[in-house]
């Protein structure tokens, strides 16, 4: 099942959610700095970043708990920058779930409807529907503390969705669940989103979660958005050292640009002790210092020297980590640099590499990505 329904499509036409040059300042500290972002209707947009990168502050501004210092926020064409949270067509699922402990599950889910003064029988029906949708039929009379973590998570989701918000904000939605449950819930979450067509904005620090859930990801760092793109874009074509390093594992080599043509370039990497041939130009100033990012799974290992003239280095195996589905090797080059290489264990009787063995590592010219700082 492909979780990323519509790939890299950037929002066309008028965006559903528009964040326009928003800054949030706490004292002299810019938690969010000049962020602009357009999100289309029906998207699952993930704000990804380490702690303190401003992703939660941005989410809280969408919810209305924080007011931007500068800039404005539009939802469905309406300026909501100064609209209080209780008047926004936005609901949020909190990281701690924030279920009201003194109310039953049904009362929790009905809370939002009651605030709108919806007729009790109608509200009851919608609560029942919603609980059925999250597979919690019959749990209505229970209290939150009588539920397991996964059940609580689904109650929180039902409560946030029952008002049919234009925008659902999810703060680390799967953070408190164990690994198996998280994997299952990811699929349920995406299914639910498809059924209801609600636009999701998710905040997470977990890159795997972002990759599986999101149609687009925005990588944040110190209050700014570094890169916006589909999971594939972000992984295969990171635009900066930070993004390359944050998403997945990567080998990074600083080097000097020696040749830069429209269709290829050569970078001399001191650390690698070789020139890297890359099958795309970077149109940068000559002799510029750049970084080559190379994913571990894009490197081949072998005892025999490959026939290709470029992008080959020799080293010895300094570390082996067997992970079941794949094996991770550390290849030490003659100058001391270590190269991470991942090999998937497709064949059980694969060429068996041992510690201290001399190997050749090679890669295709279109595998490395040249990133600026």
């Amino acid at each position: 099942m492909n979780l990323n329904q519509d790939g890299a499509t950037a929002p066309a036409g008028i965006p559903y959610v528009r964040i326009d040059r928003v800054t949030k300042r706490f004292g002299t500290f810019d938690a969010v700095r000049q962020v602009s972002l357009d999100i289309a209707k029906g998207e699952i947009f993930c704000l990804l970043g380490g702690s303190g990168c401003g992703k939660t502050t941005l989410l809280r501004m969408l919810a209305g708990f924080e007011e931007p210092t500068e800039g404005s926020i539009f939802i469905d064409g309406v300026d909501v920058t100064r609209v209080p949270p209780y008047e926004r067509p936005v609901n949020m699922m909190f990281q701690s779930y924030a279920l009201f402990p003194h109310m039953t599950v049904a009362q929790n889910v009905a809370f939002g409807l009651r605030q709108d003064g919806i007729n009790k029988s109608v509200a009851d029906e919608r609560v029942r529907e919603m609980l059925a949708m999250v597979q919690l039929e019959g749990y209505g009379p229970r209290k939150p503390h009588q539920l397991s973590g996964g059940q609580r998570q689904r109650v929180a989701l039902a409560r946030a969705l029952v008002k049919r918000p234009k925008l659902l904000l999810l703060d680390e939605p799967l953070g408190a669940l164990d690994k198996k449950l998280r994997e299952r819930t990811q699929f349920e979450l995406v299914n639910l989103q498809e059924q209801l067509g609600v636009t999701f904005v998710i905040v997470t620090h977990d890159q795997e979660e972002a990759m599986t859930l999101a149609t687009r990801i925005g990588v944040m760092r110190s209050g700014e958005i570094l890169q916006v793109g589909s999971p594939t874009d972000i992984y295969e074509f990171p635009n900066s050292r930070y993004v390359a390093d944050f998403i997945g594992s990567v080998n990074l080599f600083d080097g000097k640009l020696v040749v830069d043509e429209p269709d290829h370039c050569r970078i001399h990497c001191e650390g690698l002790g070789a020139e890297v041939y890359v099958a795309h130009g970077v149109s940068s100033a000559p002799d510029a210092t750049v970084t080559v990012a190379l994913r571990p799974e894009k490197i081949r290992l072998g005892r025999e020297q490959p026939s290709q003239p470029e992008n080959v280095v020799r080293g010895i195996i300094a570390g082996i980590a067997y992970l079941g589905d794949s094996t991770r090797f550390l290849v030490q080059l003659s100058n001391g640099t270590q190269l991470q290489v991942t090999r998937s264990n497709i064949d059980r009787h694969d060429e068996h590499l041992e510690y201290d063995e001399v190997v050749w590592a090679s890669w295709e010219a279109n595998s490395p990505v040249v990133v600026s700082r």
Binding site: F65, Y86, F100, P101, H102, F111, H145, Q146, S148
Partner: protein
């Protein structure tokens, strides 16, 4: 594993409890003493309940008890309402000008000598009476106001402690679902801090009920609270009906404590049971 208890531990336990409760116990025993002399046990006619009968026939005592109850109830209620608001401001609005000064001022009466509090309130009421015509004389209302001021300090501390443990995101979630701030306070915050509100109320009630120093400063003719009455009676010599009165008070307090303890234990047990059910439902 069997733990051998040394007899020393047992002895210390008995000595400790004796130190704490022997005086009260002797007072209870002597309340059934027939003799008018408090320290002489009249074995021929005891035990008896004449002092209790005398007590309930004494209008002065009954009126003082009624006044004390009324003042304690009203000032506890006032202190809890103001205390809840102050605690909410202190815990939920972390960044307002003068926050630490406000916190200091609300809790200062706790450490202020009662004599100072009483005297300053007396001066205030006298000055106020001269300028505005109110209060013309000091009485139940001035006592109540005085009690609110010092009970407030305790109420703020108790409620503040509880409020700090209430997850802020619960209030945000309610607001996010469409509840206005005042509604959030009433339907979310208030029920969650209700145990603290109740204990703050009981604490304030007891503080007001047995206060004598501040009360003496701000009371007037015709408004004698129970502690004041006891105090003035004892000054004329200890009479046995005081023992009876004290015994009734001790009995009332014991019943209250036992009830509160029982309720708390039951909720705790139910909570544990629920938690276990939740584990099973996984």
């Amino acid at each position: 594993m069997k733990v051998r208890r040394s007899p020393f531990v047992l002895v210390m336990l008995v000595v400790g409890f004796a130190f704490l409760y022997l005086p009260i116990l002797s007072m209870i025993v002597y309340s059934f003493n027939a003799s008018r002399l408090v320290t002489v046990w009249d074995a021929a006619h005891s035990p008896t309940i004449i002092w209790y009968r005398e007590l309930f026939a004494n209008d002065q005592v009954l009126e003082a008890a009624r006044l004390s109850l009324q003042i304690a109830a009203v000032s506890a209620t006032g202190a809890v309402i103001l205390g809840a608001l102050a605690a909410f401001a202190l815990v939920r609005y972390r960044r307002f000008r003068g926050r630490s000064l406000f916190g200091l001022l609300t809790t200062a009466p706790m450490v202020l000598p009662e004599v100072i509090t009483g005297l300053s309130l007396l001066l205030l009421f006298v000055a106020l009476g001269q300028w505005t015509g109110w209060p013309q004389a000091r009485g139940a209302s001035t006592i109540t106001i005085a009690h609110v001021t010092f009970c407030l300090a305790y109420a703020v501390v108790v409620i503040q402690a509880r409020l700090m443990t209430v997850d802020r995101s619960l209030e945000e979630a309610a607001m996010d679902l469409g509840a206005r701030p005042w509604k959030v306070f009433v339907v979310i915050t208030l029920p969650l801090i209700l145990p603290a509100i109740a204990s703050a109320w009981v604490l304030s009630f007891i503080l007001s009920w047995d206060d004598i120093v501040i009360t003496s400063f701000v009371s007037g003719p015709g408004s004698t609270t129970l502690p004041q009455l006891v105090f003035s009676k004892v000054r004329l010599g200890v009479s046995p009906d005081i023992n009876a009165l004290a015994t009734i008070l001790v009995g009332l307090v014991s019943v209250c404590v036992a009830t509160a303890g029982g309720v708390m234990m039951r909720t705790e047990r139910r909570r544990l049971h629920d938690a276990q059910t939740a584990m099973g439902a996984h």
